[in-house]
């Protein structure tokens, strides 16, 4: 069996995303792969990971096979440490209690800005997307991990609309806009793991996923990519990671 057959694109996305989290962290997770990946981390390497959901949940402990359909459903609260108001859980971000935010992305650009509002001109959009949800708040107020599908139309030089700010126009522009804290930290796709240059704040490839080469990543990206000097190849999903993931999402709600 080849490496690529052992897991789906969604599965490696979830597993590599989970690996970005550290035990003891406080993570604000969005629905979908972020929720699943955070729960996977909690059930494997990070038993003391504290997961927050925008519905108003602190210290979630989601049940295997009962993944919530959104972060505003009662399933999110199962064996949580605390349930509070939606605005109040977001204010925890503003106060600084959260180590890392973790969301999916529909469209991202070279400075890590995310668009989930408009395709085309906002005044007369080709497509009206669902909008920010908690995304703008999370990305404005803490360090971010984004897990998303790698497609050329999703990885663009400049997003049509900045819904959730990354580093805006790079350099110090994020801080200059009034956002002194946080910023984009990692982007995970089924092809690679990305970070951001400390000075220019431009995205760069830190590691290739197993079986993926530079060209494949560049070909699926809508702008010229930088590769880190210490570029390496991520180790493949372990059996334990895959088994745990499949136990958590047996119906493949978020890993289809």
């Amino acid at each position: 069996m080849t490496e690529a057959q052992r897991y789906t694109a969604s599965e490696i996305l979830a597993i590599l995303s989970a690996r970005q989290l550290q035990d003891g962290q406080v993570v604000f997770a969005g629905i979908g792969v972020p929720l699943l990946a955070a729960t996977l981390a909690q059930r494997t390497r990070c038993p003391a990971l504290t997961i927050l959901f925008e519905g108003g949940v602190v210290g979630a402990f989601v049940e295997p096979g009962k993944l919530p359909p959104s972060t505003n459903d009662q399933r999110c609260t199962k064996r949580a440490n605390m349930v509070l108001g939606s605005a109040d859980v977001l204010l925890l971000l503003q106060r600084g209690y959260v180590d890392v935010g973790f969301m999916g992305g529909a469209q991202i650009d070279q400075f890590g800005n995310l668009n989930s509002s408009f395709i085309g001109d906002p005044a007369k959009p080709k497509t009206r997307l669902p909008g920010t949800g908690g995304g703008n708040d999370i990305s404005s107020l803490t360090n971010m991990i984004v897990a998303m599908k790698h497609e050329k139309r999703r990885f663009v030089e400049k997003v049509d609309f900045i819904t959730s700010p990354g580093f805006i126009r790079g350099g110090t522009s994020r801080r200059d806009s009034g956002l002194p804290s946080g910023g984009m930290w990692r982007v995970i796709t089924e092809l690679a793991v990305f970070g951001f240059d400390d000075r220019t704040r431009r995205i760069k490839v830190l590691a290739l996923n197993p079986g993926v080469n530079r060209e494949e990543v560049q070909d699926n990206t809508g702008f010229r990519l930088d590769f880190d000097e210490k570029l390496h190849v991520t180790s493949p999903p372990t059996d334990h990671e895959l088994e745990t993931l499949r136990m958590l999402d047996p119906d493949r709600l978020f890993t289809a």
Binding site: V57, S70, K78, L90, R128, G131, T132, S177, G178
Partner: protein
């Protein structure tokens, strides 16, 4: 941007002074309660996404063909489809608007916003919360540190960026939102409107305090004695509330914490039908589930006993060890 974006304090107080805030029974029928919602009003909706949606009240308003409502809500799900698709609202204020994350984009929302001249006014999630909170506190704005630097703020001249007079930092002031009426569904309240909410509260407490009137729908009405035995469990005080309606399964097909989960087969069928044709599909759905039933219980019958009881079993299980 209307010049009434933030109601002047004297007008807000005058409206409040005119409300009957006395301790009195206010139990009415769904039909009667709908009378509190008039064409053109700003309507705040409690719950979030598929949770504790005041669906029965929306169902009744759609049956009564309200017009030109402006809706605001924590996060908007199929309730948004329904108010746009039925034509009762032409404006939605929220941070996220789709049917649910499982189903991608709402073709209904897209149809009405991209072609139909209806407005989806987007704020950050926290900003929506701070707008209700400012409204509930009786102040014209609250300061936040989100939305800065994004293009969302460029779309929102209603918000004002300032340099903090204490620290010099950039801040965004978001304006108070005081809906004319709020629709909120709760697990329990007494005939006066003292409400207890189990589990996720979302933005309902701020919304109740902010609104110039509140209609509560409730899974059950309990005695005032029962409320007074655990006053620290009361989440909404009676004097915010203008009408109380007892409607079991009043959030169906959405969930009500601890009582029932979303009725997902119905939701799936709904999404398939309306996304296939946002106009005709929606019209057929409304005809069948909204306009035809003689009562809310008949609507529940159309969803079906199997779905309702399955959702109930799942709902109760949140309390299982």
């Amino acid at each position: 941007m209307p010049d009434t974006l933030v109601e002047p304090y004297t007008r807000l107080r005058e409206k409040m002074a005119q409300r009957d805030r006395s301790l009195r029974e206010k139990v009415v029928s769904l039909e009667e309660a709908a009378g509190f919602v008039q064409d053109g009003m700003k309507v705040g909706i409690g719950g979030s996404t598929m949770s504790r949606t005041p669906m029965a009240m929306l169902w009744e308003l759609i049956r009564q063909h309200r017009k030109d409502l402006s809706i605001s809500r924590c996060i908007v799900s199929t309730d948004g489809d329904l108010v746009f698709g039925s034509g009762i609202a032409n404006h939605v204020v929220t941070s996220w608007f789709a049917q649910g994350i499982l189903w991608g984009l709402s073709k209904v929302m897209r149809h009405h916003v991209e072609n139909g001249g209806k407005r989806y006014e987007e704020w950050s999630h926290m900003a929506v919360g701070m707008r209700f909170r400012a409204g509930g506190m009786g102040v014209p704005f609250l300061p936040t540190r989100a939305m800065l630097g994004s293009d969302i703020v460029g779309q929102r001249p209603e918000a004002k960026q300032i340099d903090c007079p204490f620290t010099g930092e950039k801040l965004l002031l978001v304006p108070a939102l005081n809906p004319d009426v709020a629709l909120i569904h709760v697990q329990r309240c007494d005939p006066y409107g003292n409400a207890q909410i189990d589990g996720l509260q979302f933005m309902d407490i701020d919304l109740a305090l902010a609104a110039n009137s509140v209609i509560l729908t409730t899974e059950r009405i309990v005695s005032n004695d029962q409320i007074r035995r655990a006053p620290d469990q009361t989440k909404i005080p009676f004097f915010c509330v203008d009408a109380v309606v007892e409607v079991p399964y009043g959030s169906a097909p959405h969930e009500c914490y601890g009582l029932y989960e979303p009725m997902m087969r119905h939701m799936e069928a709904y999404v398939t039908q309306v996304n296939a044709d946002p106009v005709k599909g929606m019209q057929e759905y409304l005809d069948r589930y909204f306009y035809s039933p003689k009562s809310w219980n008949e609507y529940l019958s159309l969803i079906g006993m199997d779905e309702v009881l399955e959702a109930t079993q799942k709902g109760r299980s949140i309390y299982n060890d």
